[in-house]
């Protein structure tokens, strides 16, 4: 029993549950997430705020994956140099991913953390889901 007491002492001060926003494949294989507001977040955050965050993320991913003159140029240049150029240059996609990471950090600091929520960057989940952790006070049966 001694172990479990010390285990409890070492537990995190807040319990947490997770909500997952899945990918929206309606437009094909591009990275896009559903903007539908999960019911678990209702008491915590404004629906519009949440949808705006997801929509901005979708727009950023669309920018990263956009097919256009710039991306074709990058692709052709890479092909000509036998793809060695990627050893020295950062791809457009990677630049946008950094932008996304900054945006998520910013959103967490300004909007989500004060409400006891935490957005996880989708790239850490293989671009499958946007994981939102809901932190709650530790109590029996809470968190559902």
């Amino acid at each position: 029993m001694a172990e479990t007491h010390s285990l409890q002492d070492l537990q995190q001060p807040t319990a947490s549950s997770k909500v997952f926003v899945q990918r929206d494949y309606g437009s094909g294989t591009i990275s896009k997430f559903h903007t539908k507001f999960p019911s678990e977040l209702e008491p915590r955050i404004d629906k519009q705020q949440f949808e705006e965050t997801i929509q901005t993320l979708n727009n950023l991913y669309a920018e990263a994956e956009k097919l256009g003159g710039k991306s074709y140029l990058e692709g052709c240049l890479a092909c000509i140099t036998a793809y060695t150029i990627f050893l020295c240059m950062e791809t457009h996609y990677e630049k946008v991913l950094k932008k996304i990471a900054r945006y998520i950090k910013d959103q967490n600091e300004k909007i989500y953390a004060p409400r006891g929520l935490l957005l996880t960057d989708p790239i850490e989940r293989g671009l499958r889901v946007v994981e939102i952790t809901i932190f709650e006070e530790r109590s029996i049966g809470s968190g559902r």
Partner: protein, 466 residues
């Protein structure tokens, strides 16, 4: 420290192997941060501290490389001197450039992550399971493991991957040889010793196109060489005797050209129609094809756009983050998964559990406080003492679950009741064991084998599946 407490809960008498070594390893983990590639669940091999990724079997990659190097070596050594003297110095220059391009493309194809999707975290997997079970499926049939979505007005079925515990995105397939889900899976190519997927398809295409040029170039040069020699008043046989290496090159190139040119042509067609080998073999869109418009929802309906999108599109990043460091939470399950051996009865009750592996369960315990409720069913596994106590009840899953749960309930206040989970567990178990259709529904294992064959005999175009 929390981790040490967790491991102390495991009864050393019940475990045949290594709580001590697990502890030692956690201590080691604390001392040295591990990179994610070290705990990668797929069958890949990693070199240069995670910079280079290869499939578990290199297949015939050494043979491919060997053939290319030997043929080019013979060409430069035996044919080029003659041709430079009689024709132009540009012959070895062009040959050299092509050779470098071929080798670079080949190595890039082999050593690049093809677009592996990392497996779902336990929380995600639990969330998906929850959604499947509450999707309104009635009790007389198991919950569906496919999901239908609309992509550009086409109905596409997403299948659930039991290994990776997620619904596979469109165009993703699970390669059984590498044991990974790969995005935009084309095929597993034994010649390059890797899967060909979203991230390395352009390298693969560069490889086969440049190899076509190289083999054709060498073939042409060797024919020219022998012809020029025999024109100098010697017979053909004499010319061949003077340059036997040329015959070797001729034979290699002759047989390669058919297959490589055929493969290049086939892949050019696939790129122009924005298809993968996988989809082409399965005939995913051909039945829906109208006269003018392809039934393929991913096609841009323009050959040029399709080509540009596939070959020159933005380079997607690797999703598996091989060189990232493991957080301490993630480090433990990797250790426990590989080293802790549970006695048979706990393994059996595992089958009745929430389809979570030991690793997932322990990870959940360490993360803890996941109120989806997978902790309670899991705890009997890590505290076999409880199961031993519940003894005869261990044979049937549900009573043991409830019995195992209750004592834990007292210790871990954040614990929802077990029974709803046991019911869904049973359904899942039936899904696994009784209904093999769901396993067969996953096309990739057989397909990757079929495409394996395709890789060997590409000159036939493709072998239609019966």
């Amino acid at each position: 420290m929390m981790k040490n407490c967790e491991y102390q809960q495991i009864d050393p008498r019940a475990l045949s192997v290594l709580p001590q070594s697990a502890q030692n390893n956690t201590e080691k983990t604390v001392q040295r941060s591990r990179r994610k590639w070290e705990v990668f669940p797929g069958k890949n091999r990693f070199f240069c501290d995670g910079r280079i990724i290869l499939a578990s079997q290199s297949g015939v990659l050494p043979l491919t490389l060997g053939l290319i190097i030997v043929t080019c070596g013979l060409f430069f050594a035996f044919d080029c001197p003659f041709l430079v003297k009689h024709l132009t110095v540009f012959i070895p220059v062009i040959g050299g450039a092509l050779f470098v391009f071929v080798v670079f493309s080949l190595l890039r194809t082999s050593f690049t992550d093809p677009g592996i999707l990392p497996r779902a975290t336990p929380d995600e997997a639990a969330d998906i399971e929850k959604q499947i079970d509450t999707s309104g499926s009635s009790t007389y049939r198991p919950p569906p493991r496919t999901k239908e979505i609309l992509i550009n007005q086409q109905v596409v079925k997403l299948k659930y991957c039991f290994t990776c515990k997620m619904f596979r995105p469109p165009r993703t397939s699970h390669c059984s040889l590498c044991d990974n889900c790969v995005e935009r899976f084309d095929h597993h190519c034994p010649w390059v010793g890797n899967c060909v997927g979203k991230r390395n398809y352009r390298f693969f295409y560069s490889f086969i196109i440049s190899l076509s040029f190289l083999t054709s170039f060498i073939f042409g040069c060797v024919i020219t060489h022998i012809t020029l020699r025999s024109q100098e008043g010697k017979s053909l046989v004499q010319s061949i005797q003077e340059s036997p290496a040329s015959v070797v090159e001729l034979v290699i190139c002759f047989f390669s050209i058919w297959s490589i040119l055929g493969l290049s042509g086939f892949h050019t067609y696939l790129i122009a129609s924005n298809l993968t080998t996988n989809e082409d073999i399965k005939g995913s869109w051909s039945s829906k094809r109208c006269a003018e418009e392809s039934g393929n929802p991913y096609s841009y309906n323009s050959i040029i756009t399709n080509c540009c999108a596939t070959l020159c599109g933005p380079m997607p990043p690797s999703l598996i983050d091989r060189r990232g460091f493991l957080s301490l939470d993630e480090a433990i399950p990797a250790v426990s998964a590989s080293e802790i051996e549970l006695p048979p009865f706990t393994v059996k009750s595992d089958a009745h559990m929430c389809t979570q592996s030991t690793k997932d369960v322990l990870e959940r315990m360490v993360h803890s406080y996941d109120v989806h409720g997978l902790c309670p069913p899991a705890t009997p596994k890590t505290t076999p003492l409880d199961l031993e106590v519940s003894g005869p009840a261990a044979a049937s899953s549900e009573p043991s679950l409830s019995a195992g749960c209750l004592p834990q309930d007292a210790r871990q206040p954040v614990v929802p009741p077990c029974p709803p989970f046991s019911r869904s567990n049973k359904r899942r178990d039936s899904l696994h064991s009784i209904n093999p259709a769901f396993r067969l529904a996953s096309p990739s294992p057989s397909l990757s084998r079929t495409t394996f064959i395709l890789g060997d005999a590409p000159d036939n175009g493709f072998i239609p599946l019966p």
